[in-house]
Amino acid sequence: MTSRRTLLTIAAIAGGGLLTGCGEKSTRGGATQQLDKLSALIPEARDVNLGIPPPDVIGTRPVADGYTRFPASLTDAISEKPGRGGAAIRGITPVWGPAPPAGRNNSYLVAVNDELGVPVEFSVQDGTSYADKIGALLGARDVPDLLCVPQWEVSKLARFGDAVNALFEDLTPHLRGAEVAPYPMLATFPAGAWRNSCWNEKLMAVPNPTDGPFPWVMFYRRDLFTKLGVKPPATIDELYRAGKEITKPRQGVWAFSDVFAMIQMYFKSPGAKDGWRRRPDGTPEFKYETPEFKAAAEFMAKLYREGLVHPDIVASRGADMKQLFQSGKLLITQDGMGAWQPMQAEQQNVTPGFDVQPLPLFPATGGDPLAWGDDEPISYTFLKKGLPKERVEEILRVINWCSAPFGTTEFQLREFGVEGKHHTRTATGPVKTDLGFKEIANQYFFISGRRPVIQPTPQTPKYVPEMLGYSNQTVKYLEKDPWDGLKLEMPARYKSGMTPFQDKFTDLVRGRRPFSDLDAIVKEWRAAGGDEARELMGRALADAGR
């Protein structure tokens, strides 16, 4: 049986090498030349006036704006059919859940393809093993017309910059500057998203701009906190005391799931570029080497040692934190922002009064808090290299159509399908039917982009203001990434060590090995690729003139 390890090994052989991309921020000094070079590559930003009502809640960038209601009427953004009746466009996109039906068996695809005037045929692949799948496709040079590559997979793919060069169409001549005019929706994307889409100083992909920068949020069950009379913690001591107060093993209730990432954030351990930061002397250092990480690990180990973490989680890797949290068996957990709304919407029907809230970010050690996060796009859409010019234009028109913003008929069809079939219209907005849930799996979303907004959610009307309230508050403390916009190809040894060393620290905080091993593990990490990675990170900064 071919294993996934085999792939990694093959991929690792070729590793190494640094691919400096583009994407400097105007706010940073010393990189003006590169910035100029890039500015010439990306589309000219231009708003489209479609008469869409202004957003109800404004987000501080990179946080998106939000709507609390669906607009009363929808706008037609694009009058012309993008397709010229060409052959079917083949696309590969990820999904996290059951794959939807394909081709003619999927009435949603049929409906959207009718509007496009050219069919897009999707192969929807499992998101958790997506890197394996794309790795094989790239290795065998067997890419579809449109390939969606999620941003977090890019770092897993060896020599991705070379693959991009060899396999995908250079979009610079089609989209740079004023050339973007035939695709007005693409001109509305934030410039940062476009800069991230450059490889080897060419514009290679259409980005899908992010709608929220935070990888982790600490959530707590407000309903149960109120019931127990516990105040939501605002300092690290209060967090510990709340944990003590909540944990009642006899009643089967514990305070925490594994919240190590959030604890690291509280202690201001670095999170930029997977945990790198710059020392005052300019050299890079990884989080394992910092006193902040050590303090966070000590605190987390204390939570484990004193039995404040649910025992199912202590014992395993994959215990269902979400389920335990929903059932009130644990009251504080960390998760992605995306987990909040669906959980609230579903569980409020099961548990009356169910109320999940994010815990406002605080620092454990004084000063301002530190929030991990970035504004990299959610995903990139690549076009196969060597397609005729007319075909590239047809595909870009399709992407443009799919990128129509919230409040347009195109967006409504792409997001909710056909009224009466995939969704029903209610006073507060469209509600997906069972068929809608089955057939719509973000297929067109993952081959395009849009000006990001947070959509209203009729079942949870308070979600948008609450979510944006938290985000706007937290975004002020977003960690500065010294490598922002640089595309780095990390050494293979460092990459393959990432998970094993993470596991070692997991063992450490869970009390499976003595805490005094910490320094030894760090030493081992440095020898096993850590120092090599540091050198590369340092060189990247020097090359970029930072």
Binding site: I10, G97, S327, G336, G338, P342
Partner: protein, 297 residues
């Protein structure tokens, strides 16, 4: 009473010994059955029961078939079961034919190039083709998106080949010689003499193959793009891991409702049951078939 010196294992077992054995065996049986029980009970539980239990349900509280209604209403599970059944039947047949033919040829001393061929087969234990070369061969043969891509690359398992060959070698040579004297050719000898004597090993190896094909997942990940041709294990994985979208994917990736735990467990049940049903039919061959291969290997 005179004490007769006998080895310990010839003594009548003591009560304590029997109780000890019983406890250990019960423990082993429970370790196998309890997880299956939990999966089954959870799949038959309502959402409220699951929330009350905080996850997997051990003590049933009423029977709720809605999870099964959901998975069979979709059409996806039935289609995937049909795909997996086809692959399993087709694959097992193809694999048995090629394995038996190769094993017979390699078991006869003096057949053409058999030393080289045996070495060639055994080499694959040591040197395994990488994923990208395999992918290139499969796509180069035009097998992509075809069910044959799940069958042909894994049609011969060298381990099974060695087991069958060892069994064939254990058959008395005189039998085959007498058949040859009676004018039988190699194919007739194989079909009329060797195979009827080898039912046990063929059954066992067939089961190994069948389970392998039923569990095919990685080949499908690589070679099958058409979502309607996914075998059951890929669908199972998509259900079990549903909702585990990466944290950075924001709100957009969370727009589809993840299936409930009951639905996930119901998919596990329909994945396990069909192949588990095969075991009782093969079981009687099991001990003999495996032992022969093991001792004579």
């Amino acid at each position: 009473m005179t004490r007769v010196s006998r080895p310990a294992w010839q003594e009548k077992p003591t009560v304590a010994g029997r109780a000890g054995k019983g406890t250990v065996l019960t423990g082993v049986v429970l370790a196998v059955l309890v997880p299956l029980w939990v999966v089954l009970v959870t799949s038959l539980s309502s959402r409220e029961t699951i929330t009350a239990a905080g996850g997997l349900v051990v003590v049933p509280r009423g029977v709720d078939l809605s999870a099964y209604e959901i998975i069979f209403a979709g059409g996806q599970i039935t289609r995937a079961l049909a795909v997996s059944a086809t692959v399993t039947l087709l694959g097992t047949a193809v694999s048995l034919v090629v394995t038996v033919l190769a094993a017979y040829g390699l078991s006869r001393p003096g057949s053409l190039g058999h030393r080289f061929l045996l070495f060639y087969f055994l080499m694959t234990f040591l040197v395994y083709p990488g994923m990208v070369p395999s992918y290139l061969v499969v796509t180069g043969l035009g097998l992509k998106d075809s069910l044959w891509s799940l069958v042909l690359p894994s049609a011969v398992s060298v381990f099974n080949l060695v087991v069958v060959r060892a069994f064939f070698q254990s058959l008395p040579g005189e039998l085959l010689d007498s058949a040859r004297i009676d004018g039988a050719g190699e194919f007739r000898i194989l079909w009329r003499i060797v195979l009827p004597l080898s039912k046990a090993v063929v059954a066992v190896v067939g089961l190994f193959y069948a389970v392998g094909y039923w569990n095919v997942w990685f080949s499908a990940l690589l070679y099958i793009d058409d979502n309607d041709k996914f075998p059951i294990q890929r669908v199972l994985q998509s259900f079990i891991l549903a909702g585990q979208a990466p944290q950075t994917s924001g709100v957009a990736a969370g727009t589809a409702l993840p299936p409930t735990l009951a639905v996930k467990m119901a998919v596990v049940v329909v994945t396990v049951v069909p192949i588990a049903l095969v075991y009782p039919f093969i079981q009687r061959h099991f001990t003999r078939g495996v032992l022969v291969g093991a001792v004579k290997g």
